[in-house]
């Protein structure tokens, strides 16, 4: 080998067998390679239409309306009216601990296409109980089924100040009652609803958003919410209550606001979290779009539950006397 160090030129290999071995190796490898590659078929699925269920069971409230629709193709104009489904048979069951139905609640179509209402408006949703929804159609083959276990009833037990100075060192506190767990840990969503959402009352951050972002208006922020927040973020007091420092970012408008603390079930958490992943911002690469996480058999959508409590306060401008 090393005698070629003498050479001004490295010759093309001539010995007969060598070319054959090299050529044979390449040809064989390529053949095997092409054979494997030809099995690598990864094509797009054909578009499939799914039934979409939407219902939110609220603790201590009447049974919710159930909205049924179908998915539309991406390029189509979307309106719920166009997608709404008629001809559904909907029933909600309150389950015993063993899983058998304790009580059945029938639903009927409402005046709005695709929206179904409980026939019994008197039933108040019980905390820490499992509800099941079952749906079939007179005019479609799909059969849908989903379950939710309602969280414990939630209560904000501390006194709310009538007025809070925005971004003052005295941050607003919410003390949430001790909750009996129905899942691994409680998951909260906090939202703030402005009573009179006028643009001149926007807090500085949201005001800039409205001014600088296209297609953004003040009313987009009249009801702001946090992402789902695990109980693990908060210190649990000795008595089991949880003290939450209400974050200023939740305040979009000065003035009267309702502040809601919501304890949500896993189904809702899955839906909201995964919807935010689909919009981007996770560890997924841009353009890598996953489906949402649905806890519904036979279709997609949400049959979730939550418990909430509301307090009211007035957020005052720092310079306001």
């Amino acid at each position: 080998m090393l005698n070629t160090l003498f050479s001004d030129h490295v010759k093309i290999l001539r010995p007969a067998g060598v070319g054959k071995i090299g050529g044979l190796l390449i040809v064989t490898s390529l053949a095997v390679f092409l054979l494997i590659t030809s099995c690598e078929d990864y094509a797009q699925d054909r578009y499939e239409e799914y039934v979409v269920l939407e219902a939110y069971v609220t603790v201590n409230r009447p049974l919710p309306e159930v909205r049924l629709s179908k998915t539309l193709r991406t390029g189509q104009q979307y309106s719920f009216g166009d997608a709404a489904l008629e001809g559904a048979n909907v029933e909600v069951l309150l389950l015993e601990e063993g899983g058998d139905g304790e009580e059945v609640f029938d639903y009927r179509p409402s005046d709005e296409k695709g929206v179904y209402m409980a026939e019994d408006p008197t039933h108040r949703v019980l905390p820490r109980r499992t509800y099941r929804i079952a749906i079939d159609f007179d005019n479609r083959p799909e059969v849908l089924r989903a379950e939710t276990t309602t969280p414990d009833a939630i209560e904000i037990i501390n006194e709310m100040p009538d007025t809070v100075i925005y971004q003052s060192p005295e941050q607003m506190e919410l003390v949430i009652s001790a909750l009996e767990q129905t899942q691994k840990q409680s998951i909260f969503v906090f939202n703030t609803v402005a009573s009179e959402p006028e643009e001149e009352d926007l807090t500085p951050f949201y005001k800039t958003l409205v001014e600088e972002e296209d297609d953004t208006e003040a009313e987009d922020f009249y009801n702001t919410e946090t992402t789902p927040i695990n109980e693990g973020n908060f210190d649990v007091n000795d008595d089991g209550t949880i003290t939450v420092q209400f974050p200023w970012i939740g305040v979009a408008f000065f003035g009267d606001n309702r502040v809601l603390a919501n304890s949500i079930d896993d189904n809702l958490s899955d839906l909201i979290s995964s919807q935010e992943v689909q919009l981007g911002g996770s560890t997924l690469s841009p353009g890598e779009i996953p489906n949402l996480r649905y806890d519904v058999e036979g279709g997609i959508g949400i049959f979730g539950s939550f418990a909430s409590d509301t307090v009211q306060t007035y957020f005052k401008r720092p310079e306001e006397k």
Binding site: L13, E48, T74, Y78, T208, N233, S282, G287, L292
Partner: protein, 860 residues
């Protein structure tokens, strides 16, 4: 030239003296001759006629003497028993190769003389019959700077024995029969070194070799050693020269990773990412070592380019796959980067002004060795001030330094450090600001010792720190995070070369690492976790060369990781066969383990977070198979083909659907999956000459599968299907060319064409309009197969012109004018979907447009 049937009309050089070292045929492996004659003139072209009948060797030599007017002198007369068949002999400043093929005598030019040597019997066990043999060893370095050269080749021509320098620039050839030899050393870009040496019985000769860089010559004589080319073509291994890194057109500043991305088998995720996606693996599957020290986040400027300053870098080697037992800890690849030691002969430096960053370096000798210091800092701030909504503060810097102590002839000590940081402060709105501070620091101390002619050792202590500390302040609410990796280790490697058939390597690497992740929401701790782990690994590797045609390297690596108490064995094996001089067939298999995973986003590397295995989070592992064919079809060309197949199992990565990890068990944050990749790489290169460059083509497939991801709605909500990650590109081709227009001007061009990246084309949509909170409806896409569509093909051409000259009388200087994306191709990065429009509208998000760049560099 004449043949044995040729005419007696023979032109004979008038003054030719041959040195003939004639070896006794009765004692294979021993050189007996010792007479040396010096020629006063270069060896001329010879035409020599030999008798047509088969004659003994003394007769042949006598005929040459007669026709050439030369004289042979023998220590021992040649034997009559060695008959030479009819043969054509041509002597054109080189060996009479035809004669060589007919006899066991090897003819070698050595300066103005020619040596003739009986070929040693190199078969296993032959040395047992020999006397006490000699050895030669030492460092190979650049003659001008004194920098050691890694993977340089050295050979003793007469006995067909060679070696290449290790990562310390050290070589050794053992078990050499006493005698006189021609020692040759070669390295790409350097003039061939040749020296005649005479070794006594049992002698251990230290020969440190200084190679002279080739000067720029338009009609450069291309003399290319095949051995040199071959040594750099181990299976799966690639080498990038720092000169190439500096010459290539690069986005804003020369970059090591951007250059590595041009190699076949290596892909870039986008114009904005310098991450290395090698053979279907994600960036965290590549172990990145700077002076033997792990670097955890080697990126600047949001990931746009890597932290490695080309002024400071001496050598870059990439093991794309099937890497040897010496390395471990990643299931994909290894990238080793060595910083310069510093000029050992004279003090010099470089200053470079560029649009994004400017650089300065200084290096030189001192009493005990050498030093090097290189700094780089961004200089783009004035430009950013002109841009609306640009960050208020943005800068990055890095510093590389190295200090070498030559303790003795056999002991060298070096201290190296690196520190780099990116700082950004960006008020994006009123009452909203993003602050980010991230970077790396490394330090290493290495002791290299030549214990004996057969034993070389390195002991290295390393320290590495990576940190990122993003802070967001939105409307009086803060989101803060602090992520720290601290890693301290000690590694030791021993290389034992008992003879030309065996090289045994053994080593140990142990250390401790702490990964800390803290997250604060509104000044309250939301997450605070510290992961501490000790790790240790050891390897044993044997390279066995039973003959010139076969070589096998087997090894076993054992890895232990205390977090989760894991112990893993990783066997490695590679075999090489050379059916002919310029063809190598290689095959390799290896198992690889990985105890770390990186939580990252392709779009931005500043938040990168490392996580470790733990209880219920087993380490990833994978098998790699590769097959390669390496050839040298023409002088100075290389043509390689490699096939690979690899598996990836127990991949663990942050579950993208876990929005909030507070209160979760450690293992609950992850999703666990698997994957595979296979492909073919073709590489044609021409490394020297007026026109140099390469063409690389890759056919590659890579797939991943995670439970609950890429599911077939609504029937299999948790199963998952294999899908291609975004960076999967079936076809990828790079053409890199450098043409020296004149002594002053040169032009470089890079062209890339590749299949469009995978993306998910939404099929359907729906809307959740009744959520109990929020001001607007929530839109959602319905997806079919994940990433089953392809963006338009990517292609881009970059051009760079360089003009060299002088900066007054202070030193050499170079202007570099560059055009990135010459024809302004609008390559799509991804599609954005606007739900504010009904029907939803798709918008293109493009990558880099045409960008001009200019830089000026002075070498003093």
């Amino acid at each position: 030239m004449i043949s044995n049937e040729g005419s007696p009309n023979i032109s004979v050089a008038s003054r030719v003296i041959f040195l003939v070292m004639l070896v006794s045929y009765a004692a294979p492996g021993v050189v007996w001759a010792d007479d040396i004659y010096t020629a006063s003139d270069p060896l001329p072209r010879e035409k020599i006629s030999l008798p047509t009948e088969r004659i003994p060797l003394p007769g042949v030599l006598g005929e040459i003497e007669k026709q050439s007017d030369g004289t042979f002198s023998y220590a021992t007369p040649p034997q009559d028993s060695e008959a030479i068949p009819p043969v054509s002999v041509t002597v054109r400043n080189r060996a009479p190769s035809d004669l060589e093929r007919q006899t066991p005598v090897k003819f070698s030019p050595a300066g103005r003389t020619v040596a003739a040597t009986k070929m040693a019997d190199t078969s296993p066990g032959a040395e047992a019959t020999a006397g006490v043999n000699a050895s030669v060893n030492g460092y190979i370095s650049d003659r001008e700077s004194g920098e050691t050269l890694l993977a340089a080749n050295v050979a003793l021509l007469e006995i067909n024995r060679g070696a290449s320098t290790n990562n310390s620039g050290y070589y050794t050839i053992t078990n050499i029969p006493p005698g006189t030899y021609t020692l040759v050393a070669t390295y790409i870009g350097y003039q061939r070194y040749e020296q005649e040496i005479t070794l006594e019985e049992g002698e251990n000769r230290r020969i440190n070799i200084a190679l002279a860089p080739k000067s720029l010559q338009l009609d450069e004589l291309v003399v290319r050693s095949q051995a040199e080319e071959e040594e750099q073509k181990d299976i799966g291994r690639a080498h990038i020269s720092t000169q190439l890194i500096k010459e290539l057109p690069a986005v804003l500043t020369p970059d090591v990773f951007r250059s590595v991305q041009l190699l076949p088998g290596v892909k870039a995720a986008s114009d904005f990412s310098s991450g290395l996606y090698i053979r279907g693996g994600s960036p965290d599957q590549t172990l990145i070592l700077l002076d033997e020290t792990t670097v955890y986040n080697p990126s600047h400027f949001f990931g746009l380019f890597s932290t490695f300053n080309p002024d400071a870098v001496k050598d870059v080697q990439l093991y794309k796959g099937g890497y040897p037992a010496k390395y471990g800890g990643r299931i994909g690849s290894v990238l080793t980067i060595y910083n310069k030691d510093g000029n050992r002969n004279e003090t010099g430096g470089t200053a470079s002004i560029g649009m994004l960053a400017s650089r300065a370096s200084i290096e030189g000798p001192y009493k005990y060795g050498s030093y090097m210091l290189a700094v780089r800092r961004s200089t783009i701030e004035p430009v950013l001030r002109l841009v609306e909504d640009a960050p208020e503060t943005f800068y990055f810097y890095d510093i590389n330094g190295k200090l070498n102590f030559d303790i003795s002839e056999n002991d060298r000590l070096s201290l190296a450090f690196y520190s780099g940081t990116d700082v950004i402060s960006w008020p994006i709105f009123e009452d909203a600001v993003i602050d980010l501070n991230y970077g790396n620091q490394t330090v290493s101390a290495q002791w290299r010792k030549i214990i004996s002619d057969k034993l070389f050792s390195t002991v290295t202590a390393t320290g590495s720190r990576y940190f990122n500390e993003p802070q967001f302040q939105f409307a009086g609410t803060s989101f803060e995070s602090e992520n720290n990796v601290r890693d301290g280790s000690l590694k030791a490697d021993l290389e034992y070369i008992p003879n030309e058939h065996h090289t045994v390597s053994v080593g140990f690497w142990g250390g401790a690492m702490t990964l800390r992740l803290q997250e604060l929401f509104d000044k309250e701790y939301a997450f605070d976790r510290e992961l501490y782990s000790r790790y240790a690994s050891a390897y044993l590797q044997e390279q066995w060369k039973p003959s010139d045609r076969w070589m096998a390297t087997g090894g076993l690596r054992i890895n232990a990781f205390s977090k989760g108490s894991y112990l893993r064995l990783a066997p490695r094996l590679s075999v090489e066969h050379r059916p002919a001089e310029n063809i190598r067939i290689q095959a390799a298999y290896g198992r690889y383990n990985q105890f770390l995973a990186l939580m990252t986003n392709e779009a931005f590397s500043g938040f990168d977070t490392w996580m470790t295995t733990a209880e219920d989070v087993p380490p990833s592992y994978g098998d790699q198979f590769s097959l390669g064919l390496k050839t040298i079809p023409f002088s100075s060309y290389g043509f390689d083909v490699e096939f690979y197949y690899r598996t990836m199992r127990d991949l663990f990565e942050l579950d993208p659907f876990v929005g909030d990890n507070a209160g979760l068990d450690y293992a609950e944050q992850f999703r666990f999956g698997k994957g595979y990749a296979y492909g073919m790489e073709v590489f044609l290169e021409k490394q020297v000459g007026r026109l140099s460059g390469f063409v690389g083509y890759t056919f590659g497939i890579t797939r991943r599968k995670f439970p609950g991801f890429n599911v077939n709605l609504p029937d299999e909500p948790r199963r998952g299907r294999f899908y291609p990650p975004k960076y999967d590109r079936t076809h990828d081709m790079n053409i890199v060319a450098n043409y020296r227009l004149s002594q002053r001007w040169s032009v470089s061009a890079v062209f890339n064409y590749s299949t469009g990246q995978a993306y998910t084309d939404p099929q359907g949509r729906t809307q959740f309009s009744n959520l109990p909170w929020g001001s607007s409806n929530r839109d959602a896409f319905v997806i079919g197969s994940m990433n089953s569509s392809r963006l338009p093909p990517y292609h881009r051409m970059d051009l760079s012109f360089s003009r060299s000259g002088r900066f007054f009388s202070l030193g050499d200087a170079e202007w570099q004018f560059q055009l990135i994306n010459l024809y302004n191709r609008s390559n799509i990065w991804f599609y954005n979907y606007d739900f504010d429009e009904n029907p939803v509208e798709r918008e293109d998000v493009s990558m880099l447009p045409t960008l001009p760049a200019i830089s000026y560099t002075v070498h003093f």
